[in-house]
Point group: C2
Chain length 400, copies 2
């Protein structure tokens, strides 16, 4: 049971998340000697995961010998990331650092058979691999539903015509095997909920960088999803069902919800609720988010639109305040419709949350819009990178 250099994983993670631009900060961040940091960097370079730029980079003018620059290898290996969403599916190749190297256009048709969808998206990814000739080290999948642990079944995929309990992880792994995509380990964890994975991506590469406890809430076309990153690790609960925030009550006399209660966040703060509140005729379900976003951006001066936005911000704020009292995060990031809402009026939402949360003093919790395109896709890639970040030497196992 030979283990690799134990500082190797943490070092790669530091470079991966952009927190170690030079060997010098790698030394301090890891808490090791310069000798060790140098050896670790050399080994990561030899593995083809990072690059060292020896030319004296235009550093910030401090005295002393300038550092060499560390960065992820732009031409290094990639992982395959796949995402299923209400409008379609998409495959991409993602390198270290969360950079999307290649992506397919979003395919707009979702077959009702999960196995067929997954076979198609994996085949699209395999085509990208063939075209680019990149080495692939793993694969990750984001789906718009809760994913039950430990079996990886999609529960209540409301936005898809899939049966509840569809074994998406198993189907995904089978599709990968059929397409001959390697993957360096057989570990679990290659499939997750899209909001969860988006949160993970934002924490590592986006607006959540540096946050200790990060709460994310997002709304796509229908319903509201949540996710939580605690101390750098995704908290998905003991059976993968945490942060089902859609059924927080935010308006006791509100709209009936399919869960049997009334006034749940799910039905009070999603795009449909916004359009109805603004007195607009909702279009087809798969364009609700687009429709609501356009309305917010282009007609925010309209009093009816403005009033509807204020109403949704109040409802959302009530839900977020409850979550703040329970979770005490140090940052909140919003996606989908909620991103558009916070961008339309950042101060109102912050004030509502500070008002309603018990310890709103000291200005309350910072609330930011998410900052990554395709954060679920990048998050799915993080899932695939994780075994390599834990121990970079695993990439030697199946190497040519």
């Amino acid at each position: 049971m030979e283990r690799g250099r134990s500082a190797l994983g943490p070092a790669l993670e530091l470079v991966h998340t952009g927190r170690a631009p030079t060997r010098a900060v790698l030394t301090t961040e890891l808490g090791v000697t310069r000798a060790t940091a140098g050896a670790v960097a050399a080994e990561l370079e030899a593995l083809g995961l990072i690059t060292v730029d020896s030319r004296p980079h235009a550093s910030a003018g401090s005295q002393g010998r300038p550092s060499h620059r560390l960065s992820v290898n732009e031409n290094g290996p990639v992982v395959l990331a796949a995402q299923i969403h209400a409008d379609g599916y998409r495959a991409a190749l993602v390198g270290l650092g969360g950079r999307i190297v290649a992506t397919t256009p979003s395919c707009g048709i979702i077959p009702a058979d999960p196995a067929q969808v997954l076979a198609e998206v994996v085949e699209a990814g395999a085509a990208l691999l063939r075209d680019t000739g990149r080495r692939c080290l793993g694969a990750g999948l984001a789906v718009p539903s809760a994913v039950a642990e430990p079996d990886g079944e999609a529960l209540n995929p409301l936005h898809l015509a899939w049966p509840s309990g569809a074994p998406v992880r198993e189907l995904f792994l089978r599709a990968l095997a059929d397409a001959g995509i390697p993957g360096v380990t057989e570990k679990i964890g290659f499939t997750g909920n899209d909001v969860n994975l988006g949160a993970l991506a934002e924490h590592r590469h986006g607006a959540g960088r540096g946050a200790r406890h990060l709460l994310c809430v997002a709304s796509g076309h229908r319903g509201v999803g949540g996710a939580l990153v605690l101390d750098g690790r995704l908290h998905s609960g003991s059976s993968g069902l945490a942060l089902e925030v859609g059924h927080l009550t935010v308006h006791p006399e509100g709209t009936p919800c399919h869960c049997g209660s009334r006034g749940c966040l799910d039905v009070e703060a999603d795009p449909l609720a916004f359009l109805v509140a603004a007195g607009r005729e909702p279009g087809p379900e798969v364009s609700l988010l687009h429709q609501a976003g356009e309305l917010l951006r282009n007609e925010y001066t309209d009093p009816g639109v403005r009033a509807a936005a204020d109403l949704l911000i109040d409802r959302l704020g009530l839900g977020l305040a409850g979550l703040v009292n329970i979770l005490n995060p140090d940052r909140i990031i919003l996606g989908g419709l909620h991103r558009a809402l916070v961008e339309a009026d950042p101060e109102r939402l912050r004030a509502v949350v500070a008002d309603r949360s018990l310890w709103g003093r000291s200005g309350g919790v910072p609330i930011l819009p998410c900052s990554l395109d395709h954060n679920s896709l990048v998050g799915a890639a993080e899932l695939a990178w994780q075994p390599i970040l834990d121990d970079p030497l695993v990439i030697l196992d199946g190497a040519a």
Copy 2:
């Protein structure tokens, strides 16, 4: 920067929590060789932290050479644990394994000056140390209010006549210094909320053993507190204010709460609410829990009492269901009045939570009464033990 044997800490924790009764299971639990496990056990024994009983213990009859028995050293060092509660304060000496070695009776008077209370409780602990002659390695304190990080200030200590923001950690450390109690490190973290610390104790030594994500909810005399242990570590939020569950709404048209809302868990599921619902005259505040408990135990057949209990179980269940949807714990432990409620009718509460939580299938979450006497006290001791569990060699630093 010489570090100790890195498996030393995990090994001590395994013995401390009763998960390593023999060197053999220590070997498997640590994932090391027998040689290493033996060396580690020998070193812990040499440090006086554990004992090895070489006599062939009456093992479970499997074949092969019988294991020697590992256990914490009953006569080894202790930590000082202190607890402030609404009825008074108490000091105790707690050994490894969470065993209370000696304790003072609960002193029933709480001076309004925090510094004086802490000086008195620390002096009581110092007297215990003098009487028993035990070596003391650290100290921990549990208080009945939120403790803000990173400064350790008591926020809104409603049950005490203390000012909000009282710097309890600093006062506690000063009292310890005045009394000449050593403590092996100057690390932070020696003061915490009583429900949080109770949860920690239950997780390590009580009804929460083996749970991955543990949720605890408890009600003393007034209000409701919560705590969460995730992957073995207490989650107290980014500023120590997580799990302020008292203001979850469980009855929208209910009793007004001091937070400005109505029907909060704090005012709908505490002993006062129970007594009022049962039509009884509430006594003095510091005996509300006792009064409610007696009523539940002795007059549960009375229809009015029964109806009040059912009502509170419904309200509590609603709050717990919301928490389950957000946190997805794999076990729930209840303390104080809620312990009495779940003991009175375990099935009703389980059913309410399963009904109201989204994924109640598969029987829902197990809900258990807490199982330790003085779990906050034991939890305070855990806080003090933590640096030693992280690296047992620290006890050599100030050794005679």
